[in-house]
Every structure is written in C-alpha cells, then in structure tokens.
C-alpha cells in the first residue's frame, strides 16, 4: 500500500508532540524520583531506563497503530472482544499472582496484563456499537451497551482489580454520554446512581473501605493508609510557587513519599517544580485532551469520532483520578497518571491509543473526494 502524502499531511502533529513531551517529562521526573543521587552502583534498578525502553516500544506501537486504516477495526471489534474475554478467563487459571492479585499472564519475555487489552477492546467495541445508534439511547439500548462493558469489567474486578474494572465502565459510560441518552434515561440515572453508591460499599474489599475512610480523615491513620495522602500533600504543598528545583525535593529524596515513581509521581513533580510546574503539566494535559476533541469533531464517520471520544475518556479518567488522589481530593486508588507514572504495559498502551487517534485524524480526507 503506497503511502499517501496526504496521510502525513493530515496527522494531528500537536497531539503527537504532546504525547512525546508528556512522556519525556515523566522520564525526567522518574529520574528524580528514583533517588539517583545515591552513590554509584547503589541506586535502585533505574526506573527511568526501563521507562525509556518502554517508551521507545510504545512509539513503535504508536506508528504501527497509524499504518492501517482504522476502519478495519470495525470488523475486528467482536473477535477482539471475545479474545479478551478468553484471556481474562485464562488469567484465573494460569495467571501469575503478584501482591495477592491474579492479573498477569506470563508470556515468558514479559508479564502481560489482559486488563490493559480490555481497555482497548472496550474502546473499539463501544465505538462500533454506538456509531450504529441513530437515536439517543433509551433504556433498552443503554442496558445492552453497558452489559457488554460489564462482561469485561466483572471479570477484571474479580481479579481483584477494582481500578481497572471501573475504568472500563467509566470509558464506556463516557462514550455513552458522548453519544447522548434520552432525557428520561438521563434523569433516571441522575437519581439512581447516588442511591447505588451506598450499596456498592458492601462489594468493596476491606482495604478499599479502609482507603475511603482514610481519605475522609487521613489523620486517623497517619502511619498507615493516611501516610500516603499526608506525605503527598506535604510534598506538593512544600513545592510552593517555584518549587525546590530538580532533584531537590526533600520529600521524595528522603523517601517520605511512598510509591513516588508510580502513582504519586505528580507529587515529586509538584515538589520540585512548584506551582509553575504543576500548572504547566495541567495545561499540557488539557491541550492534549482538547486535541482529541478536535479529532472527534473532524473525523470522517461516526466510528472514528467515537474512537477518539473513547480514547479521550480513557485518558481523562486516569488524569482525573490519579491527580485527584495525589492532591488529596479522592481516596487512594492504584491508578497511574498516563505518561508520567512508571509503568511498562501502561506506557505501551498509552502510545498505541494515541496512535489510534492519530490514525483517525490522518484518514479524515479519505472521503472528501467527491
């Protein structure tokens, strides 16, 4: 297939650039967070090294995701969905248990989390279903769409991985809202969801309840679960306006900050770069998200729009939840910040999804020929 020059022309370069910039910011931040100032031969396994490798793989993945015509995914949607289901079931029988949760499949050269794949699958299946909907969703259609999501989400929550499971539902829910629902459905949901929240309490694990209690009052357990929240706020707050400077964060350097290379990466950034740094990052993310809105708007065909909207929600929820947690606005949930937190497969998936959206943007000229 000869490369059409227009393909390159239509690429949404800002989005591409932002993804790379965000990733590099993350690596820089990891460099600081992993305590590189320990003497030679003494530092932890250098996270930023590995993150760089994952990032390179991710960029390759991103390009791969741009090569084919995204519309082929329509036919692939259901096979991909069922493959994911099979893999998720396989995790139960042959999964590797890490920290008491079976989430990984051992592929020999890497540990693979099928729940990451599930996020891609739900995007594609969701886009396929929703792009067919001619009308705003009524109850029956809504139940069907959400049912598809619940199959995947249920399997993942059982692992247990509440965070990933809910994010599947939230991505799909976001896409559904993007499609629009009938006024009746909307009103009913507004009424029902708050009522369901207290019920969900009974389905939570003890540690999850503990986290919520701790979030409500971190001081109750200042050395246990509340420790994270308190130390994270101290780290960010003590950054002040200008920050303490790169590698100068005492909180992170003194290791008062747990999980500082994964979930709490932003706290390190906030401490070292201050208000200036955090606002810059926030702005980058907002522009990054806005580019997806642009792509959704300009896409040829609804399928592309929904894909872009799905990816938008994929990133949006993670940013909201992770940053909200680090800033002490939400309970501690193990959800990483895209591109900034250390995480192998997550980085790979992030880049691939950016590639997918770029794919949609590249091919918007395809039908402009009369």
């Amino acid at each position: 297939m000869p490369i059409d020059r227009r393909l390159l022309l239509y690429i949404n370069w800002p989005l591409f650039g932002l993804a790379v910039i965000l990733f590099l910011v993350g690596v820089l931040n990891l460099y600081s967070a992993s305590g590189t100032r320990l003497e030679e031969g003494m530092n932890m396994a250098p996270f930023y090294h590995r993150q760089l490798l994952w990032g390179l793989m991710g960029m390759v993945g991103m390009v791969v995701f741009m090569l084919f015509d995204y519309r082929h995914l329509k036919t692939l949607a259901w096979p991909l969905f069922w493959t994911t289901v099979i893999l998720l079931v396989a995790v139960f029988f042959m999964g590797k248990t890490i920290y008491g949760a079976r989430r990984w499949l051992d592929l020999g050269f890497m540990n693979f989390q099928p729940s990451e794949l599930a996020k891609i699958a739900i995007l594609i299946v969701g886009a396929r279903i929703l792009s067919k909907e001619r009308e705003p969703l009524n109850f029956i259609r809504l139940a069907y769409v959400l049912g598809v999501g619940l199959v995947l989400a249920g399997l993942i929550i059982k692992q247990p991985d509440l965070g990933s499971g809910l994010s599947i539902l939230m991505i799909l829910g976001g896409m559904t809202l993007f499609r629009g629902v009938t006024a009746r459905v909307f009103k009913t949901c507004l009424f029902i969801i708050p009522c369901l929240l207290p019920l969900s309490w009974f389905f939570l694990h003890d540690y999850q309840k503990q986290r919520i209690m701790t979030f409500l009052d971190p001081t109750t357990d200042p050395l246990g679960a509340g420790y994270h929240i308190i130390q994270s706020e101290i780290a960010i707050g003590s950054g002040g306006f200008w920050g303490k400077g790169f590698l100068e964060g005492t909180q992170s350097q003194l290791r008062f900050l747990p999980e500082r290379h994964t979930d709490f990466a932003v706290a390190v950034l906030g401490e070292e770069w201050g208000f200036v740094g955090t606002m810059a990052l926030l702005t980058l993310f907002c522009v990054f998200l806005y580019q997806m809105v642009v792509i959704a708007r300009d896409a040829r065909g609804l399928f592309g729009s929904y894909l872009a909207a799905g990816v938008f929600f994929y990133f949006f929820w993670q940013i909201l939840i992770n940053t909200g947690m680090v800033l002490g606005l939400m309970p501690v949930v193990g959800i990483p910040l895209p591109f900034i937190s250390y995480g192998g497969s997550a980085t790979l998936v992030n880049f691939c999804l950016v590639g997918l959206v770029l794919n949609v943007s590249m091919r918007r000229f395809m039908f402009k020929q009369s």
Binding site: G35, R37, E233, L254, Y290, V293, L302, A309, M366
Partner: protein
Amino acid sequence: MSDLYNESEQQAPRSGLVLLQALILGLFCLFAIRLWYLQIHRGEDYKIQALENQLRQESIPSPRGLIRDRNGDLLAVNEPAYALGIIREDCPDVDRLVHQIATWTGKDYFELKTLYNKNRKRVKPFEPLIIVPDLTFAQLAVVETNKLRWPGLEIQFRPRRLYRYGTLFAHVIGYVAEADEEDMGKRPELALGDYVGKQGIELMLEDRMRGAKGLTQYQVDVNGRRLKERVLKHPQAGHEISLSIDLGLQQLCMDWLSEEAGGVAVMDADTGQLWALATAPSYDSNDFSSGLSSKQWAKLRDNPLHPMQNRVIQSVYPPGSIFKHVVAGAGLHYDMLDPNETVFCSGSMKLGRRVFRCWKHWGHGKVDLNRALVESCDVYFYKLGKKLTVDRMSEFAHAVGFGHKTGIRLPHEKAGNIPTREWKLKRFGESWQGGDNLNMSIGQGFTLVTPLQVVRFFAGVINGGKLLKPLLLKDENPVVQSRIPLDDARLELLHKALIDTVEDRHGTCRRIRTKGVVVGGKTGTAQVVRLTDELKELKDDEIPYRFRDHAWMAATAEKDGKRFAIACLVEHGLHGGSGSGPIVKAVIDYLFNGKVTPKPEERKAKARAVRALSLKHKEKPRAN
C-alpha cells in the same frame, strides 16, 4: 464490509463535543484551584512540615543502674555495645541490605529476614529496626567502613549489661533481655529492642534501675546521614544498687557447690540481710543480655539438673532432722514437753503393727530433750510427735514461717508445704494416720521446706525469736515479720541444743567447730526415696546418685555481737555432716576469720565421678 467505507457522513454529536470540552474545563479549574490552595495558599505550612520530616527524633538509651555487693565491688556494669538496624525509609532495597548484613555478620539470611518481617509492623518507617542486637568489634569495623555505601543502615550505640560474675549471681541478680510484647504492654515507655530485667533483682527493681531515656533530634540528608544533632532531653542513669551479698562469701559458696547441686543461704541474724545466696548448678546471666540462641536455651532448659532453678527459694525438700527443732519448739510451746524428762530409746518404736526405727540401730538409751536434739534421736521425737499430733506440729510450723513464702525480693518463690489433716484428705483422699505423725516429727513425709525458710527460722532461734524478712539490699532496714512463740528461756533450750550439737563428743556437727566463735548446728537428711532392702545393704558410694538422700545442715554462729544463720543443702549429699558440713565450716571461717577455704580437690573429683556415673543412668529430674 459493505458499510465499512460508505459510512454516512454524519457529524459527531454536537452535545457530545460540548460535553468533552466542558469536562476539560472542569478538570482544569478543579486542579488549578486545588494546586493554588496547596502550593501557594498553604505552601509555607507544608514547607515547615517537609522540614520537620527531615528532622528525626531518637531516644538515647539510659545506662542501667550499677549493681554492687555489700563492700562496693561492682557486680553488674554497662559496656558499650553496637546494634545494627535498618531504617526502611532510607533503604532502597531491603533484601539486598539484609543479604549484605548476613554476609558481614555470618548470620543466617532467613533468620534475619524473618526477624525483619516480624518487627516491620511495629517500627515506624523512619526509625531503625534492630536486626543484629550485638555487633562484635570486628563486625563493627567492617560495617562502619561500608556504612555510607548502604543508605538505610544504622549503627546504634546502646549500653549493654555486663555481669562481671555472670554465673555467681545469676539467680540473685537475674538477667536482662529484650522486652517482649508483654513487657511493652506493662510499661509504655519501653520500645522494641529495649532491654528489661527478666529475672531476679533486675526484674524486681526494674523501675529503680532503668532510669529514663533521653531524646535527641537530628536532621538527615538525602542518604539518611545525620547533619545537625541536638539533645532535647538528657538521659537519666538508673539508680545504683548495693546488694547485701558479700562477693567473697558468694564466691566461696559457689566454689564449694561447684559440680554439685544444692543451695546455701547465709543470713545476718540481726538484720535479715542475706550475705550469700548460692545455688548450683548455675548459668551465666551474660548469655541472656546478648540474646540467647534457641540452641543455648534448649540446653539450659533440658539440663536434668535445672540450672535455672534457684534452689534456695524455689526448690522444696523434706527438712529431715533439722525439723526436730521445730517439733521441739512446738512441744515447749504447748507445754507438752518437759525438757528434763527422759525417754528411753531402744533403737526402734512400735506403732500398731509397724516398727519405726531410730537411725541408731542399737538405740540411744535414756535421752532428754537436749540429748535427743544433740544426737538426733528419732525415737524421742516419735513419741513427742505422737503426743503433739499433726495439728499442733503444723500450727507451730506455720507460726514460725514454714509453709509460707518469706517475701524475699525475688520472683517465683515457693511456699513449701506443711501438711494438715485436711490437706492430706484433699490431696490423697486418705485420712491422717498415726504413722504420719511419727514421720512428720522427724521431718520426713509430706513436709517440704526451702533452705531460705530454714535459715530464717534458725536466725530467729539465736536472735531472740524474731523472724526476719530475708533482705537482698544493703540499705534495707530489718523487717520483723513475726516472732517464734516461745519465751527466752524456752528458746534458749533450743539454742543450747544447737551449740551442744557442735561441741559435744556425740554431736553430729562436730566438724564445724570454730575457735573463738560460738557455733551451733543441726544436721538433717532428707529422704529422696524409701530405700529398698537391697539398697540398704549397699555402701554409701554404691548407692546410685539419684537415690541418695539430700544432706542438710542448719547452723548458727556468733562472735562479738555478729550473729549469722546458715542453711546448706546438698542434693544427694548423703549425710548432713559430711555433705554439707564442710561448706558450712568454710562459711564460718570466712565470716569470722576472713579465711578462704577452697574446695578440696578430692571432693571435686568425687563429685565429678558421681556426676559422670549418674548421667550414664538416664536420670529423671525430680519435679519439686
């Protein structure tokens, strides 16, 4: 595939696009406001908190109070020791560090790791978790040179208890060991890794000796190195303690008891202070203060001679003939005994169909009270016991302190046993027999006493009837717990009999006569088993160790207003005179003439031979 490329050119839903933009705006506003609040509005507060995070506080251990003997010789001191800990917060890779520590110290990695995991939850992440409580100097040197390369590694100075005479005083001073959950529950000021008294005086006077920890605050840099340090509270050393024990005398007693099992108590008859409290075999208190390995502990626990047992206060024995003074006292107290009345001893006495023998087969002939005590005539006491019956004997014995704890300031004291009719009925379901009276009258049977009770009673006999609380501290004032219920004249009868037992040609305690000192004494033999006929035929040396009787001697000694009572028991020592006599004699020589008589080699050799022989026959430890 048909509709794959022919998608109707529908535009994305407008409402959806508006929604997405609204969400972005909301996200931006929410976080911008929160960041402004945290970083600008409250930034200064958080800066202070972050600085405080770099400040750490550490307690400074307080040196434990010193322990001296009555003459000021140091018995327990503190020496510098170094413990190795890990500060989790500073340690990038705990596993590697624990591996490294195992390599440095030659300890087992898994043991260290288990210890680490056990205490993880109990130590704050920025406080050192002690992994090796006691570094040798060689190890310390290695660790010191590598310390900077291993962040999170912490060397902690702490005074360690050192007992200069570990085995001599183990049962008096006891030992310290790391505080366990229970200790920490009882004393909130204790932290993990602190040492507390676990036994003996160290336990009983814990609060007096521990002192108060100090507090220091220091700033750390990125690698957890200390920068500035400031002492917030200086530690207070614990109080010094002087024991009533005389080091030289204790050494002498322990020397004499070495290779044997038994106990010696020496009491100042006027104050109740113990000048010696020796029990053998012993263990080394120092083994505990640097942490006892499970192997060492098992060896101590399973030793058939029970070295952890304090035989002066925790072991109970039948008193044998030394109880005759108590029975005589009872006779005098109840006016059922005329000291001048004589009884004819033919060598045995019939009671019903049973024959009760005197130890002297051919009999003592006519004996009065004094003679009966001096020559330890059994028949005389059989008759007295029959008259008194168990009720009076046990009432009097209780009155003079038997069957009760003495209240000495040491843990786990035993009360012994003085039988009564009710007791026997409850214990054995049998009623009290006439023969039991006879057995009781010569100190055999159900009566059980501790050497400490014995020494207290005999101190009472020579000090005018005061039963004193046994004291272990030099500065404690005498406590009169009760009195022997006998007037001076009657008490003097007992006293004189004691002296005559030493002075008289036929006395059983002739060997402890000492020039210039008024010495009194009484021997006793506590039956271990009722010897079968075949064993009776054997010579002393041929009786298996575990069947030999225990040898008792109680003695009193006075000169120039100094008065002492001594109780000595040698387990399986056969005869009071030969088994315990030489030890008592050595004690008296030391007390009044300052003479140190070492244990003769031949006695040592004999003890060793017996021990070797007896260990061949698997001995069942006596549970008493």
